[in-house]
């Protein structure tokens, strides 16, 4: 009996330490906030443009993820070609890459001196860094792997007989994908979208490296928090709380999948 109690404690104590470790910073953020001054903090000129830019760019990044990532996930899920496992591994690289390294890589590719960016400048007279487009690039770069892996996982769980049957009934691969596969993995697409969007919203390193930091144009909410921390900690806390609230709402939307 005693031994049993001890062995349970051996599991419970680390589990509670883990919970405390995750929750203490969030509670501290709530305690440090100046709640009465919150409306004034949120009305500051740096806060609203940053949130607006974040919502706009992350939505665009999510649309790109869905348009490009869903077909890629399907090909990865069904292809038996011998390069497929390699492609899957390559898609995972940005997932484990430090975001700031991703930012450097984006500069090397799409910067004015970059492999693609130089041509773009010569042909179109336009360069990507320091524009909201660069923010979308950075966010898509870090979020797309999350989306592809989540959606591919649920697509692999789909019984091949469904798409096999659609094919024998004469449906083209595109039609099978559109009318059979996508509706059946809709929950997977939803959770992949939420993950990718949350990752894009939190993007910092690649954004500040590749897109720079200009209020209203490339200063997203995480960048605004970082900059405000030194000049105006209360504004930083207020903006952090808004982002915490958004995260909780996203988690709430996923309740059916994760909180069962």
């Amino acid at each position: 009996m005693r031994a049993l109690r001890w062995s349970r404690a051996g599991l419970l104590i680390p589990a509670w330490v883990a919970i405390a470790f995750l929750l203490v910073p969030l509670v501290a953020l709530l305690l440090k906030a100046d709640w009465t001054g919150m409306p004034a903090q949120l009305a500051k000129p740096s806060v609203v443009p940053a949130l607006r830019l974040s919502l706009l760019t992350t939505s665009l990044a999510l649309v790109i993820c869905a348009l490009l990532g869903t077909p890629l996930a399907w090909l990865l899920a069904r292809s038996t070609h011998r390069v497929t496992p390699w492609l899957r591994a390559l898609v995972t690289v940005p997932l484990v890459l430090p975001p700031v390294v991703g930012g450097v890589a984006l500069l090397m590719a799409y910067g004015r001196e970059g492999a693609v960016g130089r041509t773009l400048l010569e042909v179109a007279g336009w360069s990507i860094p320091f524009t909201p487009v660069a923010v979308v690039f950075a966010e898509t770069f870090v979020a797309l792997p999350f989306y592809v892996l989540a959606v591919e996982g649920s697509m692999r769980g789909l019984d091949p007989r469904y798409d096999g049957l659609a094919a024998t009934l004469g449906a083209s691969p595109w039609r099978t994908f559109r009318t059979v596969v996508v509706p059946m993995v809709a929950p997977g697409i939803a959770s992949g979208s939420a993950l990718a969007w949350a990752r894009a919203l939190g993007e910092f390193g690649a954004t500040i490296t590749f897109a720079g930091n200009f209020p209203g144009r490339t200063q997203t909410a995480p960048l605004a928090v970082y900059v405000a921390l030194e000049s105006d900690p209360q504004a930083a806390i207020a903006l952090s709380l808004v982002m915490l609230l958004i995260s909780v709402l996203v988690l709430g939307a996923l309740r059916g999948r994760w909180l069962r």
Binding site: G111, F130, G212, F214, P215, T218, V227, E230
Partner: protein, 269 residues
């Protein structure tokens, strides 16, 4: 002999007999983690390392790294640990309790938010001075020849964030010259600002003269007239009474230290 061989050693000494074993084991583990050796009995042979933690303004990156290497070479057994960031970040970190023995800041006004209680007695010295300069990529592709050119809308200008001393000084200079620069980004510190020019992504940035010199030809410098330029004094602030830290401070202010600073484009206070 220095009074404190290792700043953590005092924790190991006054331990009562019954609890000695586990506590001593913890202490040894802690000492191992901090890179200090426990000077007990036969283990006393291991050389003690005197670690000095320095947080410094990012404009000092090359010069202070070189000075620290000189110091370590001429003072065997010392280990100078350096970390560079915007002066405002350094001060925020120190106020929040970051372990540091010595800090070096750009501009005396950077010391404003520093909690006075953290400064050691007589711990402030002026180590160098700096002025602003425009940096462009080599060959000056944007043909920037003066401050007024920075207002051209086709130009991509990068400044330091207004929280960093280089950002504050740049705003003062631009205001004095009555120039509204076409800014595309406010970077977190002067080195992030310089990097955008070195990578060729920005056409011009307002940085320190020492940054242009330290870049050793990888950027092109355009002078800013003295009438609108800012001069920043670099305070060196001692936070602890550790003797090795005091030695390092003296070394930075010595002729050898000053020579290094001059080599990297700093002015003398």
């Amino acid at each position: 002999m220095r009074p404190q061989l290792c700043r953590h050693a005092r924790f190991a000494a006054p331990v009562a007999a019954p609890v000695a074993a586990p506590v001593a084991a913890l202490a040894v583990a802690a000492l191992a983690l901090t890179g200090c050796s426990a000077a007990t009995g036969s283990q006393a042979k291991a050389p003690t390392r005197h670690t000095v933690v320095v947080l410094a303004a990012s404009s000092l990156t090359e010069s202070l790294t070189a000075i620290a290497a000189d110091f370590e070479a001429s003072h065997p057994g010392t280990d100078v640990q350096l970390s560079f960031a915007a002066s405002s970040t350094v001060v925020t970190q120190v106020n929040q309790g970051a372990p540091a023995d010595l800090i070096a800041l750009a501009g005396t006004s950077s010391m404003g938010p520093l909690e006075k209680g953290r400064i050691a007695k007589n711990g402030i010295r002026s180590m160098a001075a700096n002025t602003l300069e425009i940096a462009t990529p080599p060959g000056n592709p944007g043909t920037v020849n003066s401050l007024a050119d920075l207002s051209r809308p086709t130009l991509k200008v990068v400044l330091c964030a207004a929280t960093a001393p280089c950002g504050k000084a740049a705003v003062k200079t631009l205001t004095a010259a009555d120039v509204v620069a076409h800014v595309v980004s406010y970077e977190t510190d002067v080195r992030a600002t310089l990097a955008k020019v070195r990578l060729g992504e920005a056409d011009a940035a307002i940085v320190y003269h020492s940054d242009v010199v330290s870049a050793r030809g990888r950027v092109h410098g355009v002078q800013i007239p003295a009438s609108v330029n800012q001069r920043l004094d670099y305070p060196l602030v001692r936070l602890t009474n550790d003797p090795t830290t005091a030695e390092l401070m003296t070394y930075v202010l010595s002729d050898q230290g000053r020579k290094r600073l001059r080599d990297y484009g700093f002015l003398m206070p």
